[in-house]
Symmetry: C3
Subunit: 207 residues, 3 copies
């Protein structure tokens, strides 16, 4: 799952950078940032040297994702919207939320800390890439995406509360994240804005 996620995240990031007409160095950086910055932020927050800097295997996957993005752009108009990419991206979201939950629990964080690290691990790379592309992170106003990682991390914590840990808790987290994300893509779920909620409430108040 991690492998699929790294390739999918790097592909999505590199595609965004190509659309902004970044040069090949920029394309590679935005792709790798999308794939690795979430995990690196997690590692910095729990006081570890980021794993991706110490091994070569993961980076090769990221570069493969970047190369795939460049190759597919010649064939497809928007490879990042292809159903296979969306599904792979959802798998990555689940894998990264699970990895974050496990690392945060091992580091002895609070239940909030576990959910926060799961979410940062899953969506931090994409959010960082959006900042590099000079836009607000899409996870803050669009789509039902980061919420899936929040739900996955919460499921991991809840599993721990009822005594389910280890591999089973990880599976619960991954399944929750993946399931809600696939449902969100399929049914077009979105979170409301304060305007939507506020207007509704104002409307009630006025009548």
């Amino acid at each position: 799952m991690n492998t699929v996620g790294l390739v999918a995240f790097a592909l999505v990031g590199a595609t965004k950078a190509m659309r902004e007409e970044f040069d090949v160095f920029g394309i590679a950086v935005v792709g790798l940032v999308t794939a690795f910055a979430g995990g690196a932020t997690r590692d910095v927050l729990v006081n570890r040297v980021p794993l991706a800097l110490g091994s070569l295997g993961e980076i090769s996957l990221g570069l493969f994702g970047v190369a795939l993005a460049v190759g597919l752009t010649v064939l497809l108009d928007s490879p990042e919207d292809h159903p296979v990419t969306l599904a792979s991206d959802a798998v990555g979201l689940a894998a990264f939320a699970t990895a974050g939950s496990i690392v945060a629990t091992d580091a002895g964080l609070s239940s909030f800390g576990v959910v926060a690290i799961a979410t940062i691990n899953a969506v931090g790379g994409g959010a960082f890439a959006d900042v590099l592309l000079d836009r607000s992170p899409f996870v803050l106003f669009d789509d039902f995406y980061a919420s899936c990682a929040v739900l996955g991390g919460s499921a991991y914590v809840a599993a721990g509360v009822v005594g389910v840990t280890g591999g089973t808790a990880a599976a619960v987290c991954a399944a929750t994240t993946l399931g809600t994300r696939l449902a969100a893509v399929n049914y077009g779920w979105r979170l409301p804005t304060a305007q939507a909620l506020g207007l509704a409430r104002e409307g009630v108040g006025e009548k």
Copy 2:
């Protein structure tokens, strides 16, 4: 003071995010980032796991601030400009500058390091939130805000030089930050830009 500050900072951040029509996840994230990212950056720089990830009390205050922002937006046009909010925000600025000064001194940093960490602790959250909102951090070009934290941190260092430490030095730092901030709000203090200074100098040169 820390309690007041966390609630006020989260409220200010969440209000900004609502104005940008972020969804409820985005509103919560920007509010929590405003309240906690300064302290988390401080902890990462001195090589500690951020405190906010290890306990639940502080996060509850942050979420309370976010909820307050949503609630007050229905009642007030701009709750973040209300005198009570401005005063609470100044209290938070003083509390966070003081916390930063103490942590940096304990970590054995230089006098510059203490002032830098006091400032990052106090304004880093707001600056990070502005980056998420896709704008330049307001502390860099507007208002007399970060300067109060710089003065507070410098007062803490100066107190140490003349042999005043511990609680008294902390009180000096907090009073300096709070006093200068309230004066800045009251009298509309601003720092000059290079244009203002440069033009003045050019004017002198031309005549």
Copy 3:
């Protein structure tokens, strides 16, 4: 070299901030971020407290660069494009890429980790400053700049592979970075975008 680099980087950053009409606090912050954020990010990633926070010498150089920028702006139209600044900036790029390579190697990172840290050390400050100025980091789409640090870090790794280490490897890294950067400035080197490459390939496909 480090001295020249810190002053040149702070000057370039402060000049950018003046152009955006930041106030004097903002000008100092953007100048210092340009000079120190790359090294601070390196230190955080390898789990050290940033050196710049623990000593006063380096910060003094950064503040000198900021003051120089303010002073030169009165005399020159764009001090950051002056040949002396461009050459000093190239020296800084080489010094920082070399420092990053050495620290990353000492921390036991992989060959990718060494190249990544060398690049982050060399261009991270400028990229961070661009984010504060609310623009995409220029190194991602413009100029042949970060690529020189990538080549320098790679040369350091390659030197290690063939048994050349210590001061000689550092000299190879610095010379590679400085040489390619000066050549890039002189001959106007740029990396291609995907559009440039893709269009070429499409053209081949169409005919």
